[in-house]
Amino acid sequence: MPVYRYCLLTLVCPLLLFWGCGSGENHQKEVVASGTIELTDGWARPGAKGMMSAVYLTIRNKTAYPDTLAGVSSDVAREAEVHESYKGENGMSAMRPAPDRVIKSGDNLYLQPGGLHIMLIKLKDDLAAGDSVNVLMEFRHSGARNVRLPVQAQR
């Protein structure tokens, strides 16, 4: 057991060190080659009129400064908010608002099932797979960004 643990440590520590160095370098390069907020891999869940949907996407800050996701809205829903699903005591699932998320220069903010999402509250109409939705995102520094995203049951 102690021998095994020692071997594991000698193996893992240098790996971690290298990994740390590597990602630091990448981080620097990307910031230099930057310019805008990039929105990719976006999609929305289907839902019936009056019900909820969730929007997922990856937000990449390619500007030289930190930015903040300050607000969201959509023409298909009465309200929209950034939320976060989380695991509480005894593995219970719950949701809480996640306003004003800061994205550092060069970083990604991942909105994914079971985590951060834009919640569309009280859909004005049925949303079915194959439809698309407009989502407006307000960034504190970069301003407003509009994206059109496909509706899919699952990705």
Binding site: S53, E79, H83, S93, M95, H117, A153, Q154
Partner: protein, 202 residues
């Protein structure tokens, strides 16, 4: 030399006990123990087509995957439903298997709302979405150790019918005799883990 005839039976006994212990624990691995026995219980529920369902009686003779959702859940519950569908589609043979999703929000999840959900997520005839009178659902959930409570998100100006829920995140396998045998974290369990147990229990 003199001890040997004496030692041998004792050794033999010890080994027999050890072997018995090992085989018992192996048997337990192969055949998961009962977590909850619903055998002598019956709940009057409603299917998404409004027909009456006696639970678990109507599922006796079937091996049933059971999970818990509410349709106003926009993020985690669709992942649970997708996972149930993945288990179904990765099973080579689904004969004798049923998929049940029970709402823990019976006030809003009427049969017609559940029918809509079933349609949105393209769930086939092997799926049943069950609701019922709130007290009946409550007593079933507490028997099944499922916790669900209303929660509000303060930033939203909501009236009393607007709420989210804090809820357990569980898939169960119920055997042909109405006994709950295994339990999984519903939105993250890999389908193959559930399928492996299903094959032993079915």
């Amino acid at each position: 030399m003199l001890y040997l005839p004496v030692m041998k039976p004792i050794n033999l006994m010890l080994w027999t006990f050890a072997a018995l212990g090992i085989s018992l624990s192996l048997a337990a691995c192969n055949n998961p123990d009962t977590i909850i026995d619903l055998n002598n219980h019956s709940y009057e529920l409603l299917n998404e087509d409004s027909s009456a369902v006696r639970f678990p009686g109507d599922y006796s003779g079937k091996t049933t995957l059971i999970t818990f959702i509410y349709t106003h859940c926009p993020d985690v519950c669709p992942v649970i439903t997708a996972n149930m569908k993945n288990i179904q589609s990765e099973l080579a043979d689904t004969s004798g298997i049923r998929f049940v999703e029970i709402t823990f929000d019976p006030e809003r999840d009427t049969p017609s709302v559940l029918a809509e959900y079933k349609d949105v997520y393209s769930l086939n005839h092997q799926f049943s979405l069950l609701t019922g009178q709130p007290p009946e659902i409550d007593s079933l959930l507490s028997k099944l150790n499922i916790v669900a409570e209303k929660a509000r998100i303060d930033s939203l100006q909501q009236d009393s019918s607007d709420y989210f829920m804090r809820h357990s995140n569980t898939i169960y396998i119920m055997d042909k005799q109405g006994r709950i045998r295994t339990e999984y974290p519903a939105n993250v369990v890999p389908p193959e883990n559930v399928i492996e147990d299903l094959q032993k229990i079915r």
